[in-house]
């Protein structure tokens, strides 16, 4: 089976089969990343451009490593975010890159929809590596992969996504995919952090963390953007941590064996207590490791190399 898409822009429109294909493809590359020589020639001669308009270390590095392990040529291009303001359209930047025969463009951009706009304008495949508050599909996929790797099945799986959902692309990608796969998704946070009408996406909203944790098998914490305190979303970090911080006591309220996830980078002592982040239930580092395999799979599927 092959993927009949030019781009990976969001998880919202994907079918269950397409998600399944992406996870299975990641399986074979996970095996590669465990070898002593962690490299295959699948994308030899192809060019992957990481076009990052926002600072990002881990996502960019993960994509870079994934492309290199597939033997692709990788170029990192990080225009300052001021070039967005300067008025060069995203399309102009991308067409320049395309003129250099890039096969795949990995785009990180602060503007929601940037990847979709770009994909319409270029022949190269486009992977959305995060567009504003919209989606971060490869993060969603690596989260799914990590859940599945722990032997959990999605049908009926109880997942709590905790934090600033309104401003989180990670949350949106996970909500779309998890709901599609049959999971019961609970969103947890203060009402100021819940986007308008989010229930329509098939989730349930909880303001009380303890109540939401009952029977939950996956606790997915979101990073708190500390600078949002000034935007009247929450009064103080102290109160936020008390209401929505994940402590060891709270982990015990969830299903025994529940796993703890976080897209990183973590604010220790704010949304997650250090002892939880470092505990056995934490799969945070597995997420990072799986990210490379999942991205190898996506690059491979979109390249049409199969």
């Amino acid at each position: 089976m092959s993927l009949k898409r030019k781009d990976l822009l969001s998880l919202a429109p994907l079918s269950v089969d397409e998600i399944g294909l992406m996870l299975e493809t990641a399986d074979s590359f996970k095996e590669v990343t465990g070898r002593e020589i962690k490299k295959v020639p699948a994308l030899r001669g192809r060019t992957v451009v990481n076009l990052f308009f926002e600072p990002s270390t881990r996502t960019r590095t993960s994509f870079e490593l994934a492309a290199k392990r597939l033997s692709a040529d990788v170029i990192n291009f990080s225009p300052s975010s001021s070039s967005i303001v300067k008025g060069e359209t995203l399309l102009d930047t991308a067409r320049n890159i395309e003129a250099m025969q890039a096969d795949i463009i990995v785009l990180r951009h602060p503007s929601p929809g940037a990847a979709e706009t770009l994909a319409r304008g270029v022949k190269s495949s486009v992977i959305n590596a995060g567009d504003g508050w919209h989606e971060h599909p490869t993060q969603g996929l690596l989260d799914l992969y990590t859940i599945r790797e722990r032997g959990l099945s999605f049908e009926g799986l109880r997942v709590a996504i905790v934090g600033d959902v309104a401003h989180s692309r990670v949350a949106r990608s996970n909500i779309h995919a998890l709901v599609k796969l049959g999971a019961e998704v609970r969103l947890v946070g203060p009402p100021t952090m819940m986007p308008f009408g989010v229930e329509k996406l098939g989730v349930r909203v909880y303001y009380n963390f303890d109540e939401a944790l009952r029977g939950v098998q996956v606790i997915m914490m979101l990073r708190l953007q500390l600078e949002r305190q000034g935007k009247a979303l929450f009064p103080t970090i102290r109160e936020y941590a008390r209401l929505y911080g994940l402590t060891s006591e709270r982990v015990r309220m969830a299903d025994p064996g529940a796993i703890v996830m976080h897209p990183g980078p973590i604010n220790r002592g704010v949304e997650i207590a250090p002892e939880v982040a470092d505990s056995l239930s934490s799969v945070i580092l597995d997420q990072v490791a799986n990210g490379v395999a999942v991205r190898m799979g996506i690059l491979y599927l979109l390249s049409g190399a199969n």
Binding site: V85, G87, P112, G113, T117, R172, F196
Partner: protein, 428 residues
Amino acid sequence: MAIHITGGHVIDPGRFNNMADVLIDEGRVVAVGPHLTVPAGATKIDAKGKLVLPGFVDLHVHFREPGFEYKESIQSGAAAAVAGGFTSVCCMPNTNPVNDNQAITEFIIDRARAAGLANVFPIGAITKGSEGKELAEIGDLRRAGCVAISDDGKPVMNSLVMRRAMEYALAFDVAVVDHCEDLHLAEGGCMNEGAISTELGLPGMPAAAEDVMVARNVALAELTGARLHLAHISTVGSVRMVREAKSRGLKVTAEACPHHFTITEEVVRGYNTFAKMNPPLRTWKDVQAIKEGLCDGTIDVIATDHAPHATQEKQLGFTEAPFGIVGLETALPLTLALVDEGVLSLESAVDRLSTAPAKVFGLAKGTLAVGADADVAIVAQQEQWEVDPAKFFSKSRNTPFAGWKMKGRVTTTIVGGRVVFETSPAEL
């Protein structure tokens, strides 16, 4: 030179609605009726099967000159106006520099005269630089020719300043126009806040951001007795509050834009920057409320909020692209669609486009009464055409209606007794 318009269906809202000829001479309407005595040498325009209407009056356009001529000049804007049947337009002061003084007002009027197409009536700023702090010289602006005052696009957030503006305006009997938006509530937003903004991850502007300012402005109009005109209302709440204000006899009028009664926030999907305007496209409930408001007269006026932007600006990402769409060349068919739908009678539709707006700003326009300025739009009501933005007279192409099949087209526009626009026979 006299013009004799023959055989058309003449609609002069509230005054006349029948088959008749219209005779124009020396820039004025001379006679309306059957069997007119026509002076020798009069130009005959055959309007058989067509509507003969008082030229439309748009209370809300942005002509971008001075300062942003690459988007639209007064000349190109006026050309777009007459192509859409608008013989009078009122241009908002958010130019660069802002039209907050007599010199800019005079410049606009001079430019419009040089263009010689539509009547262009400047709207002056409420505050200096539209910064919302100190009142502009409203007396001077009025004397120089401004027909209303507004800080459109930059709503006056300080309620005391707005109160003073309304009070001061009373001395000059000039309407105060507000773009109702609480800038704090709408901060950073670029589309209607709702299920679609949630899904697309776009920052939303809640309907409440408009509603709270409508409520404030109505309260201030009641306090001061000023003539308040609400620009481009777009929400269920705004319509309800205007209806209520009118029922209490306040001097409140309101306008709605064709896009707000035709399309919804759904059009934003795909991050379509041609669907980005302020106020944003809302929901079907809001569209319904706007139509009800137009139907029962709560909304007096249809205005375009014609807001040209260059192609490269609308090619930016959705959050960076500027707000606004062009509207002068598509307003008529979108309004006539309301007639087909049964929302408005044909006469009321003409009223909302011509007669009512002239009344709101106190312009001696919008009528075909004998002695009135000969501003006329002749319309082929049933003619079908497809919107091709490349053919617009406007310099800009930013419309969400590209490719739409429209019904109803202006075939001749007359301003001050001169034919300023005619569709070439090849297009008919």
